[in-house]
């Protein structure tokens, strides 16, 4: 009999303890409020220097970006990707390190590397990407990065990139080359010696 009343007493008293804690948090709603009203307020993204040479290199997992003018077409990122979402096609450039103005190809990267390849296709399917960041490390020119990586000023850090069409998530980075231009690159017309 006494156990019956002890149980009731225990239940009510522990419930009361719990309610007191909840009440205390409710009274401190200004201080303890952790909910963000998302579209109006945003959580600040952490920004820090991770010690690479690039100033303001942010650690962030967001969408991938490629500075195609710096890309030498070495395919290292394509090989590093565990889900094969990066696809690159290259054509051998006729003259190493020379500009080809017709297809807006620059011959030299910002690191002064002379490019031997013309990148005719560079697509990243962001709907397949697993955000592991493995592709950004082997790049010798550091031209592929999660947005917010090097050249931070140029790109806004953005994590809201939903699209209505799935195909819009396949990002094309290579400069558009027509099929005739491709053919001329592949079979360059031999210069007639005078």
């Amino acid at each position: 009999m006494s156990k019956y009343f002890t149980n009731i007493y225990d239940t009510v008293s522990t419930l009361w303890t719990g309610m007191r804690i909840t009440w205390r948090h409710m009274m401190n709603i200004k201080r303890d409020n952790v909910t963000l009203q998302y579209p109006e307020e945003r959580w600040p993204r952490p920004e820090r220097n991770i010690g690479f040479e690039h100033a303001d290199y942010n650690v962030i997992r967001s969408r991938l970006h490629v500075d195609i003018d710096d890309c030498i077409g070495c395919l290292k990122c394509e090989r590093a990707c565990p889900v094969d979402c990066i696809k690159i096609n290259t054509i051998k450039a006729p003259n190493r390190g020379e500009d080809i103005p017709e297809i807006k190809h620059t011959g030299v990267t910002s690191n002064d590397t002379r490019k031997a390849m013309v990148v005719s296709r560079f697509t990243i399917d962001m709907s397949e990407c697993c955000y592991c960041n493995l592709c950004t490390y082997p790049c010798p020119e550091e031209c592929i990065f999660m947005v917010g990586g090097p050249n931070n000023e140029k790109h806004n850090i953005d994590y809201e990139f939903s699209e209505f069409d799935r195909n819009d998530l396949i990002y094309q980075f290579a400069k558009s080359i027509t099929s005739e231009q491709k053919d001329t690159l592949k079979n360059p017309i031999p210069e007639v010696e005078a």
Binding site: I21, R45, R48, V59, R61, C130, C132, N133, L134
Partner: protein
């Protein structure tokens, strides 16, 4: 008049049910409300982790290990890289070891917080869940600050970690621990000592030590049954032998040793032990280069390795066979949650349906790891 047996009814719980913690179907044979058999059907989250690992290079496996135990991805990474380093005989710098321990313990706290909060949710207490997730969120913020990702990190690499800690990480983590330690007693007041919670969990689903051992149950579930077994203590890997911490075991505080309450309570005590390890690790962390021991090309010699580590769910073992190429010949993952689920049928017979939910919640399973 003999005992009257009614018709048995088969009840399906899941695959989409909030109390199954993922996509799990329980085929429950019931007599009235008494459960006579529980048959878990798994495989809804099967993603061919082991087969995938035979087709990608060793470093590309690490993002997949994240996705096995998605609540404690750091610990999943940890087990894999420790096994790989044993296979390749790499000695990592001391700072890397410290960073890994810090990350592993932080993730253990985060995983246990979710397990405890969701367990409260399973037995009908909603508020502790919110408080625990609020604090878990702060740990995830620290992970985001360190490596950019909040859940699936790909942070630990073979021979190192991907980024060094931020300069003010020690201070941020210390602040968090100062804030977090008093919160534990608040959780206890709110949930642990609540009479209704005790009535729902104490003496329910008793897992005796011999049954636990014969089923291969590990981690907090085994320690809840009173067996003092922790890989961090008994078979130390990385630098866990340097830290001073206890291995809490279930004592049957409000009921029998090995009941649901013990499994819950062991997790709560383990959070405290993790805080203890973190404080020691933050105090002693040396300087150094975290990329120094990373091999240029990961091409282990022929051979095999089995290494187990203590993930928040128990012994997480990786068996890796190398044939000397950059691609693994076989990667086998020993999942602690799988053995925990296999014991469910044994300990939930004779209990009510609502108790099966309480027992399942106390086992703290992650379906991503069971199905792989």
């Amino acid at each position: 008049m003999g005992v009257v047996h009614g018709d048995q009814m088969i009840l399906n719980i899941g695959p989409q049910h909030p109390s199954t913690h993922g996509v799990l179907r329980l085929e429950v044979k019931t007599d009235g409300e008494i459960v006579s058999e529980v048959k878990p059907h798994i495989g809804y989250l099967h993603r061919c982790f082991e087969k995938h690992s035979e087709n990608v290079t060793y470093e590309q496996v690490i993002p997949f290990t994240d996705r096995c135990d998605y609540l404690a991805a750091m610990n999943s990474n940890f087990g894999y890289v420790v096994a790989m380093e044993e296979l390749m005989e790499i000695k990592v710098p001391e700072r890397v070891d410290f960073i890994r321990v810090i990350m592993g313990e932080l993730n253990r706290i985060a995983s246990h917080l979710l397990a405890l909060g969701v367990y409260g949710l399973d037995v009908g207490a909603f508020t502790p869940f919110l408080y625990m997730l609020r604090d878990r969120e702060r740990i995830l913020d620290m992970f985001e600050y360190t490596c950019g990702a909040r859940l699936l990190y790909n942070y630990m690499w073979v021979g190192g970690v991907s980024h060094d800690l931020p300069k003010d990480f020690v201070k941020i983590c210390g602040d968090f621990l100062d804030y977090f330690e008093p919160q534990i007693s608040e959780y206890n007041e709110l949930l642990t000592y609540n009479k209704i919670f005790i009535e729902r969990t104490a003496d329910v689903g008793v897992l005796p030590a011999d049954v636990a051992v014969s089923f291969g149950v590990t981690g907090p579930n085994l320690r809840g049954s009173g067996v003092k077994w922790d890989v961090r203590k008994d078979e130390p890997y990385s630098i866990y032998d340097r830290f001073d911490f206890d291995v809490p075991t279930g004592t049957g505080e409000f009921g029998t040793v090995g009941d649901c309450f013990d499994r819950y309570w062991v997790r709560m005590l383990e959070v405290k032990e993790s805080v203890k390890i973190l404080r020691q690790a933050l105090k002693d962390i040396p300087d150094g280069d975290v990329h120094q021991a990373i091999p240029k090309k990961i091409r282990p010699p022929k051979g095999s390795v089995y290494r187990r580590t203590e993930s928040p769910r128990g012994d997480l073992g990786y068996y890796i066979i190398s044939d000397g190429t950059p691609v693994a010949s076989r990667v086998k993952m020993r999942s602690p949650a799988f053995t925990a689920l296999s014991v469910l049928d044994e300990i939930s017979r004779g209990w009510m349906i609502s108790d099966v939910i309480a027992i399942l919640g106390s086992l703290d399973i992650v379906l991503g790891e069971i199905d792989r």
